[in-house]
């Protein structure tokens, strides 16, 4: 807009070459456009090659799934490895769903509340608090495994001491349960979800909230009636991000679940590799299938992610 021109020195643009200012000059000429498309196609090939390897190797029998024949098409493409991988992974798929959906929803909800309070109900020291909260995103998770396990053990012991009935045991967020794993993901998701929501709500003018307060709206009222309805872009970013992170996460999944029956799919996928013998075709097929949910989320919901970014969720 013309008002921004005052940031640039007066003759700034004059000394540069003069193509016509016709709106259609925005679309470069045919040769240039062709080179654009070629570049994009080359980039697409770059992004697709690893998937090609995953799928192709998965379609091969064990004897052909080796480096020497990597690029060759399978002699008899068969879905056998996919079937084998599926049979192994099916239960764990359900476990991952049981883990990821509650954890994602709850951590998004929590991040939204936190972001709301930290952006619209600031108090003395709330910025410092936010910074301290944010710092939690950066710790290396390998280094806190042992105290984490010990703490979750204590949760189990506390639940036992409180006399939680056997049937509700699966709800106790302690060591060795999906609830415990979800609990851990929700906690370590607090920094990033709070960041995204806070940045997003910061783009909503404070005057709006102030006016609502003057009109008599309460803490919950403002959230429910003003912010929540327009939070969809931020929710999109957070839900997609958290879904992906938690679905793909391996370290906590392998350390905090002992009974294989409740393991998430990342551990089962890892276990498709034997200790001495790796059936590469089954592993690649399994890897592809385990990646499918998040892949589909990005393919179909990617534009909501984009919209959320546009609305300033991660703009800094």
């Amino acid at each position: 807009m013309t008002s921004l021109r005052r940031f640039f020195p007066d003759n700034f643009f004059k000394h540069i070459a003069l193509p016509d200012g016709h709106p259609l000059s925005r679309l470069p000429r045919l040769g240039v456009r062709l080179s654009f498309y070629l570049t994009l196609l080359a980039a697409s090939a770059f992004y697709l090659i690893p998937i090609y390897i995953l799928v192709m190797t998965g379609l091969k029998p064990y004897a052909e799934a080796n480096l020497a024949q990597m690029w060759q098409l399978p002699s008899t493409p068969s879905l056998e490895s996919f079937r084998q991988a599926y049979v192994t992974l099916a239960t764990y798929f359900k476990n991952s769903i049981a883990l990821v959906i509650p954890a994602t929803l709850l951590s998004a909800f929590l991040g939204s509340i936190n972001g709301y309070v930290l952006s619209k109900w600031r108090f003395r020291g709330s910025e410092i608090l936010f910074t301290l909260l944010l710092f939690g995103m950066f710790i290396p998770y390998q280094s806190i495994l042992i105290p984490l396990v010990q703490t979750l053990q204590r949760v189990n012991q506390a639940a036992q001491a409180l006399g939680v009935p056997e049937s509700l045991n699966w709800l106790v967020p302690g060591y060795g349960s999906i609830a415990g794993l979800a609990f851990v993901h929700i906690i370590y998701g607090i920094p990033i979800t709070t960041l995204i929501f806070r940045n997003y709500y910061a783009t909503i003018p404070d005057e709006l909230v102030e006016a609502a307060k003057i009109d008599g709206a309460s803490l919950f009222g403002i959230y429910r009636w003003i912010l929540l309805p327009i939070s969809m872009p931020a929710f999109a970013v957070v839900l997609i991000w958290q879904f992906t992170s938690i679905w793909n996460e391996f370290l906590f999944a392998v350390t905090l679940t002992q009974n294989p029956v409740i393991r998430p799919i990342t551990v089962a996928l890892y276990n498709l590799a034997g200790s001495y013998i790796v059936e590469w075709n089954v592993q690649m097929a399994g890897a592809f299938m385990a990646a499918l949910p998040t892949l589909l989320v990005y393919l179909f919901l990617g534009r909501f992610f984009m919209r959320g970014l546009l609305a300033g969720s991660l703009k800094g």
């Binding site: 239960t91 049981a98 276990n271 001495y276």
Partner: protein, 430 residues
């Protein structure tokens, strides 16, 4: 908007979430060996890294034998994959430190068991069990020695794997009139002939470095002989001495005959090279046999690597009883199965290893394993380095670091100094 209606809505939301959680509650998948849960289920949690193939199948067979005797016990098959149990050890150690031991876990016999678990007082001694089962007569003295410490027995060996085997492609050898080399000189001469024909003499796949450490222990044993090799682990043999130097120099020459992309391949991908005829030999443990069978490779030949005729470098998977195991009675019964003739005969042919006991029926095993059983009965038994028998894990990681650099720069003096320092850091050498 009143607080009451907010609370009401929150309540509804939580209720919906709880319903989602309830609907998604993981349903235990029925496994073939787990019976339907009885009124007061007894459990047994077995922790291992046997996740696929023959290893998993063998383990399940042992579970079957156990459940035939104790149908009311639910066996939890807690496995974590990963070569040599790296990932599994992370989980295991985290749990043990967190005060949540599994009922029994797979652990390599020897220093790995002793220095990691026994010395730190995490295990219960098994002397009574050994006496009751008469195992001191059935396990060879070499094995009994490796699973004891301070006058007690600490774990039950299920199998024996041999580390020093030279595998080759019999068809390639026959076509060229070659025979497996018995000494290092013969090996290098043969390697020259292979190179001239465009065949990689030695296939090596050492991603993660352990396969090179494995190769090195075979070269050490072949250069030093069994007594001096054993002396390395007690401090009697000098790591700075001329024999170790000779072993390192042999190793340099072997590496020069290995494929250039060894750090990109795992051992089974190196075996692929032998199967495809692109490489002549590979030196690896006897799990190669299982790999060959899975890949339906019929032209597999085996021989003792140079200098190790009459030497059996052994490693073994064992199970013990950790302190504070939730179901010690069930574990004792499990250990009985693991050490029994029936259990070992069910497990080992499928797994691709031989029994730790010396009274298993040879007819159950394939041709390679039968020859291994014969060697096991008469060879000098020495512990493996790369697989936890000869040295503590801490010492092995020091040696791994030295080998990681040595394999790249082939600097013998530097490596020897590093190995000597590693021995001192492990507090075995002075």
């Amino acid at each position: 908007m009143s607080a009451k209606s907010i609370a009401f809505r929150l309540f509804i939301l939580l209720g919906v979430l709880a319903l989602i959680l309830a609907a998604c509650k993981p349903v235990p998948a029925p496994t073939p060996t787990t019976p339907p849960p009885p009124p007061a289920p007894k459990k047994l949690e077995i922790f291992s890294w046997w996740t696929t193939g023959g290893e998993a199948a063998g383990l399940l067979k042992m579970f079957d034998i156990y459940n035939a005797k104790f149908p009311d016990v639910e066996i939890i098959n807690a496995t974590v994959a990963g070569g040599a149990g790296f990932e599994a050890k992370v989980v295991l150690k985290t749990r043990m430190l967190g005060g949540d031991p599994p009922d029994s876990f797979q652990v390599h016999m020897g220093r790995e068991l002793i220095d990691t678990w026994v010395v730190n007082d995490y295990m219960e001694p098994l002397d009574d069990l050994f006496k009751e089962e008469g195992w001191d007569k059935v396990f060879p003295p070499g094995v009994l020695e490796i699973v004891s410490y301070d006058g007690h027995y600490w774990s039950v060996p299920v199998n024996i794997h041999r580390a020093n085997v030279l595998w080759y492609n019999t068809k390639v050898f026959a076509d060229n009139g070659w025979t497996p080399p018995a000494t290092f000189e013969e090996f290098f001469a043969l390697a020259e002939q292979m190179k001239a024909k465009g065949i990689t003499p030695l296939a090596l796949g050492d991603v993660g470095i352990w396969a090179s450490v494995h190769l090195f222990e075979v070269v050490l044993a072949g250069t030093l002989g069994p007594e001096k090799y054993n002396g390395l682990w007690t401090g009697e043999t000098d790591w700075g001495g001329p024999e170790v130097k000779q072993a390192l120099e042999n190793m340099v020459k072997m590496l020069e005959y290995a494929n250039a992309d060894h750090s990109a391949l795992s051992w089974d991908q190196a075996n692929d090279l032998v199967i495809q005829g692109k490489a002549g030999m590979t030196i690896m443990g006897d799990w190669v046999d299982a790999d060959n069978l899975a890949k339906k490779f019929a032209d597999s030949g085996w021989a003792p690597p140079p200098g190790t005729q009459g030497v059996f470098i052994a490693l073994s998977d064992t199970f013990g009883l950790p302190k504070g195991a939730p179901h010690p009675e069930q574990v004792k019964e499990w250990l009985r199965v693991a050490g029994s003739k029936e259990g070992q005969e069910a497990f080992n042919p499928v797994k691709g290893s031989i029994c730790a006991r010396n009274d298993c029926d040879a007819a159950l095993f394939g041709p390679y394993l039968q020859s291994a059983m014969q060697d096991w009965a008469k060879d000098a038994i020495v512990p493996s380095l790369a697989h936890g028998a000869a040295a503590s894990e801490s010492w092995v990681t020091y040696i791994n670091d030295v080998m990681t650099v040595f394999v790249t720069d082939l600097d013998v003096a530097k490596a020897q100094a590093g190995l000597l320092q590693a021995c001192k850091d492990a507090e075995v050498c002075k």
